[in-house]
Subunit: 310 residues, 2 copies
């Protein structure tokens, strides 16, 4: 298979109670690609933009793993830079600084060779750019889209044009509630589904993730990590594990979508064990599969309706 | 089997965005008994106190279902009264009024016939009274205990005396964190287990519940109700479903404990569909088992470590 990801290729400075990292590689496209490329046959292709200050050598491990980075444009100027601080509870973070740099004028150009990608991940960028990406590709089999409160507040009309062309909207719980203007998550998911996406994936951080399809709901809990080191990129890593798994198995039947949710959760749980994409430098598919098996054991029970009778 | 429950037998006035109920039957012992008695062979016995204003006829459905209410003492004075208001999000509530009445001087007296109860549920009362209950019963096979922030803050020493005598501590996530003085739930559960309880059940409201035993963790999601009518009593109804199920099957092996978690979740999810214990007046064991099956379908996936290889 082949997966096209379009998103940010950034430098992050991250401060946590456990340590700090300065100007390390980050951004949605990097986390997604590092996660998805762990899956055999995922065929990841990246489109993004960096400035002339970007340490491309820090992404060499992706090329070594077969990720095609030729769609990362190098522009004159500074790379997208984000600095943030996490506190002990790690659920909230303060943004200390954001400098968009060359990302401010990002106009995704999809290389000819990428236009037949079978899956597309639209990282969290302006919905007009997400639409523009879809205009440049040939009928992909699966389009997965992220967005955020900023676009929901300021560019709702663009988002509503985008939704009919999206197969999986993948957002967090507050974004889903805000988009649907509906506090009840199930009803928010149904509102979104009525506007196009066949599937809605809602990420709830430590509380796990939920997949809504036409007829059913599937829950994955948050993985009970002994410690969380750096939460940056967990959501994009979830998306990378989700699509990487689906590309690896080559189908998207209901059972595979459920497993993709768990592979996404497992992959995202590894992302937070180190700074930047560093955990993905050494992570193996077998470690991910073992954690998926942990998820299975944490949720499995047998049931027979007759159990309380007789 | 037989289950002794000791807790509050109260009158509640509840205001929600969907309606109001005035001076309806409530309290931990009532919700627990109404839930547990839905399970065949649960043998529920209630110990509590009411004033001379209590509408015992509103509990007749419990007696009809085999609940022994003879341990509810009738004292001169007013019954425990609580009034509260829920808002649209239903996660937070404002207490409008609390009048302890005869509950202020409650000294549980366990009738002779109740002392051999095989299971004990210690509802949320002063930990010294919970200890006093345990001093009055013969070595029960399973002791499940609830508590709250008020006792954790003011009576920690009593709680720490109680914990070694408890098999299952059943609290919500903020109570577990506060008791262990530890923000990380897994570590909070391990802290509690080191002080006695073999099992810790942490209730997370809409985010479900978690069972920690010595070696494993089991997650149940929150049931995605289309609407929540009145959240009062959901936690005690969870406990009633949990113990009622275990009493019904008569064992507590690891598979049964997992199913008890799901039966508890299912039972708790019904509690919120109506005011007071009213949903339990008509609920049937088969409806609960059907909802448990819904939970199974919402969490089930197959997995084979070889899936992403080959």
């Amino acid at each position: 298979m082949s997966i096209l990801v379009v998103g940010s290729v950034a430098l992050d400075s991250v401060h946590t109670p456990f340590g700090s990292a300065e100007r390390v590689v980050g951004g949605s496209a990097n986390f997604f690609a590092a996660a998805a490329s762990l899956f055999p046959r995922s065929g990841v292709r990246v489109v993004g933009v960096v400035g002339d200050d970007y340490p491309m050598d820090r992404l060499a491990f992706l090329s070594d793993r077969g990720v095609d980075l030729s769609g990362i444009e190098r522009a004159a100027g500074e790379s997208f830079f984000w600095a943030g601080r996490y506190h002990y509870d790690l659920n909230a973070r303060d943004t200390l600084e954001t400098r968009l740099g060359v990302f401010a004028d990002f106009q995704p150009r999809i290389p000819e060779a990428f236009r037949t990608s079978e899956q597309v991940f639209l990282g969290n960028i302006h919905p007009d750019l997400q639409l523009d990406v879809l205009d440049q590709v040939d009928d992909p089999g699966l389009v997965v889209c992220d967005t955020m409160n900023f676009w929901i507040e300021g560019h709702r009309a663009s988002l509503e044009r985008l939704l009919p062309r999206v197969d999986v909207l993948m957002v967090n719980d507050s974004e889903a509630r805000q988009l649907a203007n509906e506090p009840h998550l199930l009803q928010a998911a149904r509102w979104i589904q009525a506007r196009g996406p066949r599937w809605v994936v809602i990420k709830k951080g430590e509380h796990g993730a939920v997949l809504y399809d036409e007829a059913s709901i599937f829950f994955v809990p948050g993985f009970p990590l002994e410690s969380i080191f750096d939460p940056t990129g967990a959501g994009d890593s979830f998306a990378g594990g989700f699509l990487g798994y689906l590309a690896s198995v080559g189908t998207q039947d209901p059972g595979e979508l459920r497993r993709a949710m768990v592979y996404g959760s497992a992959t995202g749980s590894f992302a937070v064990e180190d700074f930047s994409v560093d955990r993905f430098r050494s992570l193996t598919p077998l470690e991910i599969a073992d954690r998926v098996e942990d998820f299975r054991q944490m949720t499995f029970f047998e049931h027979d309706v007759s159990m309380i009778h007789g």
